[in-house]
Symmetry: C2
Subunit: 342 residues, 2 copies
DNA sequence: TTATAAATTGTAACCGCTTACAATTGTCTT
DNA sequence: AAGACAATTGTAAGCGGTTACAATTTATAA
């Protein structure tokens, strides 16, 4: 029913090969016939069938985006950046929510491969993600977004992340400069590499300041509000006398703030809190959350751009781009009042 | 390079037609050969090429999702429901952000048509969306999600929305029952039908209670924080003496709360606020926002299910599903203190 | 046992486009 | 004006499946 290349060929009195040539603006077409063909395409309101061309060209102008959960504002921001770039370059995005499950991830990957997508943007990679390793081995174009893997078995990967070590460092440093000495640290799952890095930054700041970290005040969890809430209760009731909490994402920080309030204490007067990500939630909560900013949308955009350029053959593989992080100071952290030593 | 139907045929010593038959589990294959073919498919780790089959079957098992902005938690929730359903039924979702632009919407639509997607889920439809009308005329499978259109020129459409009139009504009624008489109303763009409906509910409640609405206290805007902030300042400085504000979405409500605080007043002691949507933001803000709950994820899920069943030919077109709305009472609204009359 | 219907399988055209290669046309030299 | 070469266009074989129709095999009935 729809207009095909044959219809155009017939009307323009040329072969379908020629029509195909003007479609792909190949040089080997005289200006005269090119114009004639284009005119017919206009008249008949022709749009080429991407599926048909994909069958031979292999390219579908479609990318797969794997994220844990689009309902999480962090990933929604990443996704927006990804979609913006795709749209700018004429690509489309198939969105997949893996729910932090390696199995779901694998299922999506095989499904998308069947659909001949041109590449993957993966933001759900674990510390050592077998799915990713396999894709790399199969030489499937892919970029890791926001999350690095630890071992790519020597295979080149493109990675776009932000400076997590710095992020952890400046968060802790800020609290230290405010006079805090007992600073708790709530991290996400250790199998996600960013947590190790943020912890590293935190530890570095502590060490530089000659402060010891209380073991019970550092814990891994799952990046959710509830974990922040429970772990904070635990810490504040424990032996560590923490006066400040650094949480490795905003949701956990929000959970921590709730726990503090739940105990009848105040943020930041009694306990200071610093979060991570700077999602829109940070400015919504009370008090507004001081947090480490990640340029999420930009990360998504750059990663996608990188991938598309690689697909087009405009560049090689194996780049690692680290975007800067910085502290956004709001109201959830203040000077330490219980400085024992002074 | 990848395994094709020919490889399977050769190994299983059958024709490609037979392989295709077991692929589509057509009945006309003997159990014996079916098993043999399946075994070979396993051994060779074969996955059929969706693109190739799409060329003849026309179906790509892919749906297009048009939303204004995935970074908006409301749409993120819808999208999550959509993706969940797609995944459950073996479909994938191409996500498009239209940024409230009819042109962008049209561009995406034509792009997705070229990619032979099986149907559209449209959540960006305006009061009278020409893009949608055209799709309907072309008989493209489509479902409207969260937003109805006003005139489909008699063409049947599937629509999944929530009960906006009721939502507006219960929000206003709640405030009225708390003793408020001067209730402002901040609405989104009038070209989005839900706003007219929510307003209708609000007006109905006011009328039932014998209250008059102050014209300056009702205004259309753009569903964003900033609008809520500015309009609220305007209203509170104006002649209407509003003691409560009903905002047609959570973001606007949050803007309103900020304006109230900005003026040195308290929520809810001085001014009560009720929002709409019950996004995750509602429980984050201070005070937690009393708001009308929409079952966003469920809406997305149901809409997608409807669309897929239609595509599969399991049902006709022209259904309108209205999900219930209810008030979620938190802390942003309280009894009216300035009741003049008493 | 044989004719006939039913079940199974194979052949080949087609989906709409790309592209290697061949054929044709045009341009430039001498 | 003929030959050599470049530019343009056409032919036809895929890409990996689906499916109408024909061919073959098997089951059933007389």
């Amino acid at each position: 029913m729809p207009v095909t290349i044959y219809d155009i060929a017939r009307e323009a009195r040329v072969s379908i090969a020629t029509v195909s040539r003007v479609l792909n603006n190949s040089s080997a077409v005289s200006e005269k016939t090119r114009l004639r063909v284009k005119k017919v395409m206009e008249q008949l309101n022709y749009t080429p069938n991407v599926i048909a061309s994909a069958l031979t060209k292999k390219s579908t102008l479609t990318l797969g985006l794997l994220i844990p959960d689009i309902a999480n504002p962090f990933f929604a921001e990443l996704a927006r950046g990804v979609e913006d770039a795709s749209s700018d370059f004429g690509f489309n995005i198939i969105m997949c929510n893996t729910d932090y499950s390696s199995d779901k991830e694998a299922t999506y990957i095989s499904l998308l491969k069947q659909k001949s997508i041109d590449g993957f943007i993966i933001s759900s990679a674990y510390y050592n993600d077998q799915n990713v390793i396999e894709l790399l081995k199969a030489n499937v174009p892919l970029v890791l977004l926001g999350r690095d893997i630890d071992d790519s078995e020597g295979l080149p990967v493109d990675v776009v992340v932000s400076n997590n070590v710095k992020g952890g460092y400046i968060a802790a440093k800020y609290l230290i400069d405010l006079g805090h000495e007992n600073i708790a640290c709530l991290l996400g799952p250790p199998r996600i590499k960013v947590n190790l890095e943020r912890e590293k930054g935190y530890l570095k700041a502590m060490e530089e300041a000659g402060l010891k970290v209380c073991p019970e005040a550092v814990g891994y969890g799952d990046f959710k509000i509830d974990f922040g809430f429970k772990k904070t209760l635990e810490i504040l009731k424990g032996p560590c006398k923490s006066t400040a909490i650094f949480a490795a994402n905003d949701l956990t920080a929000i959970g921590a703030m709730r726990a503090i309030k739940f105990l009848g204490l105040q943020v930041p007067n009694d306990i200071s809190v610093v979060g991570y990500d700077n999602t829109m939630l940070a400015e919504m909560v009370d008090p507004p959350l001081t947090t480490v900013n990640q340029q999420m949308r930009k990360m998504g955009y750059i990663a996608t751009e990188l991938l598309i350029k690689r697909i087009k053959g405009e560049r090689g593989v194996g780049e690692k781009i680290v975007l800067d992080t910085e502290l956004v100071i709001r109201k959830s952290a203040s000077k330490c009042k219980n400085v024992d030593i002074l």
